[in-house]
């Protein structure tokens, strides 16, 4: 399976001092598939994403993108491979020193793919794609609401028509209606671009809307993987507790009681 996988993780391990955050993670994401990784806060979801992107260096294991090993790869080669990626950050991570259109077109300008005039036109088109009007293009990110910032982040993620798009907690901090709008946009945009999507979230509404396949991380280990349709009858007590949001179950929250 891993031979044809767009993203393939094998025995990925990452520690911070004595704390083991990722413990032998295996994951395959096929081309065109939408994979969602679920798990509680601090379970290692974001670290997995950052290891794939090269923002963190794993202690051991393998990360392959289109069959190319990413660990130990040269900076130039990594940069070339990163041009295949789009990423929607949890907080938007918009550059507040730049107007919205330059945020959206940043990757296009950085790769010298277009001049500023053409890049601006593409940015406005991508903003329209996520339901924002052209006048938004000339505002600063600080002038936008949380939902609009997410949409701008989404427009930036799809601006260069990437092969792979990562979504880090795409609906965190949004009201349920805006969260659903963002989920719909993610599904549409991923289909439009024909990209492979990897999302991390603990929002089950997002999972049901976005996912083709679901994996669950708990305490740095991948404890379940399967199709979205199987999640409600997985037979896994961790999954059942998580999707039903119950305090009682095998997942223990680390709460210090006085």
């Amino acid at each position: 399976m891993s031979d044809t996988a767009k993203i393939s993780l094998k025995a990925l391990r990452k520690t911070f001092g004595p704390k083991v955050v990722l413990d032998s993670i295996d994951l395959d994401v096929l081309a065109g598939e939408s994979m969602v990784i679920i798990g509680g806060s601090g379970s290692g979801k974001s670290v997995t994403l950052k290891c794939i992107l090269g923002l963190l260096i794993p202690d051991s294991g393998s990360i392959k993108i289109d069959g190319t090993e990413m660990i130990g790869i040269s900076g130039a080669k990594r940069k070339e491979i990163l041009t295949k990626f789009g990423m929607l950050f949890q907080g938007g991570a918009l550059f507040d020193s730049l107007p919205v259109w330059e945020n959206v077109a940043f990757g296009l300008l950085a790769q010298r793919l277009y001049d500023r005039k053409d890049a601006q036109e593409i940015a406005i088109e991508k903003l329209r794609r996520v339901g924002l009007t052209p006048d938004v293009a000339f505002l600063n990110p600080a002038e936008l609401s949380g939902g609009m910032q997410k949409r701008v982040g989404l427009a930036r993620a799809i601006a260069a028509d990437p092969d792979i798009i990562f979504f880090d907690e795409p609906t965190t901090g949004l009201d349920p209606i805006m969260a659903d709008v963002i989920n719909e946009l993610i599904v549409e945009c991923v289909k439009d671009v024909g990209a492979t999507a990897l999302t991390i979230t603990h929002d089950m509404a997002s999972v049901r809307k976005i996912a083709d396949h679901v994996s669950m991380i708990y305490h740095g280990k991948m404890i379940w993987a399967g199709k979205k349709e199987d999640i409600d009858h997985s037979g896994n007590e961790y999954i059942e507790q998580f999707i039903n949001g119950k305090a009682e179950g095998p997942i223990k929250m680390e709460i210090l009681k006085s």
Partner: protein, 258 residues
């Protein structure tokens, strides 16, 4: 034994920090020399650092020049050496007070701003976002800031500080202390040597380098949230000021030690 252990820890901690800052500086210089270049960012930083620092640098050195003239006048009158006032003012300002005051003021203004901006970008994942958009943060954020500061501090701010500082002494001496305008200017020009100006500009370049290096290093390595940004900003200003005063002595020795 414990006392020695404490001393050892402090020494190792200092060497560790010095090593990290050294590697950061070498990395920044290597990125300055290799493409891609970001002239738009460089120009923006040059405006921020040079042009917008002019009023505060000009005002500070104007009053310092005037205060120096008052002090020298009073002191030199004790042994009938009032005629040395223009010489001491010009040498004092150009060799020492102009570049040093300018460096300390710019450290407070620019080093703090760089640390706060980069620190905020770090904690809001904007620096990670740059990486995912195929842009090296060192090339886009660090190299233009360091280069702009090395250019603007000596060639604009120190030149202005020296000129206005000498002018402050001249204005006070001619308007209040009864010095003849022509004689004052002649004495100033006769005793100002090329080596004085060269030392002043060299100090400006060295101070500019440390101002930007400390601001960028502490900002780029910010950890945590708002508190982390605050700590980074404080550390940037304090370490920049220490490096300015230390390097001031070293450069002075290089130029004027007999």
């Amino acid at each position: 034994m414990n006392f020695l252990a404490v001393i050892g820890r402090i020494v190792f901690s200092f060497l560790d920090a010095a090593g990290r800052i050294g590697i950061f500086a070498v990395t920044a210089f290597s990125h300055m020399l290799t493409p891609p270049y970001y002239p738009r960012e460089l120009f923006k930083q040059m405006m921020n650092i040079g042009y917008y620092s002019l009023p505060v640098v000009g005002l500070t050195t104007l009053f310092t020049g005037a205060a120096l003239a008052v002090n020298i006048s009073e002191g030199s009158s004790r042994f009938n050496a009032e005629s040395t006032l223009p010489i001491i003012v010009v040498i004092g300002i150009v060799r020492e007070l102009g570049p040093t005051l300018c460096g300390l003021i710019v450290a407070g203004r620019v080093s703090a701003a760089m640390a706060a901006e980069l620190g905020t970008m770090r904690v809001t994942e904007q620096i990670d976002a740059l990486t995912t958009l195929s842009t090296d943060p060192f090339k886009y954020l660090i190299a233009p800031r360091i280069l702009a500061t090395i250019i603007m501090v000596p060639l604009m701010l120190v030149v202005v500080a020296d000129t206005i500082g000498v002018m402050g002494g001249y204005l006070l001496a001619t308007s209040k202390l009864g010095y003849n305008s022509g004689n004052y200017m002649k004495a100033t020009m006769d005793f100002l040597e090329v080596i004085d100006v060269a030392a002043s500009l060299t100090k400006g370049a060295v101070f500019g380098f440390f101002i930007a290096l400390m601001g960028c290093y502490h900002g780029f390595n910010t950890r945590g949230g708002a508190q982390g940004v605050g700590i980074a900003t404080t550390n940037a200003v304090v370490s920049a000021c220490i490096m300015i005063l230390l390097s001031n002595y070293v450069v002075t020795e290089m130029f004027f030690s007999s």
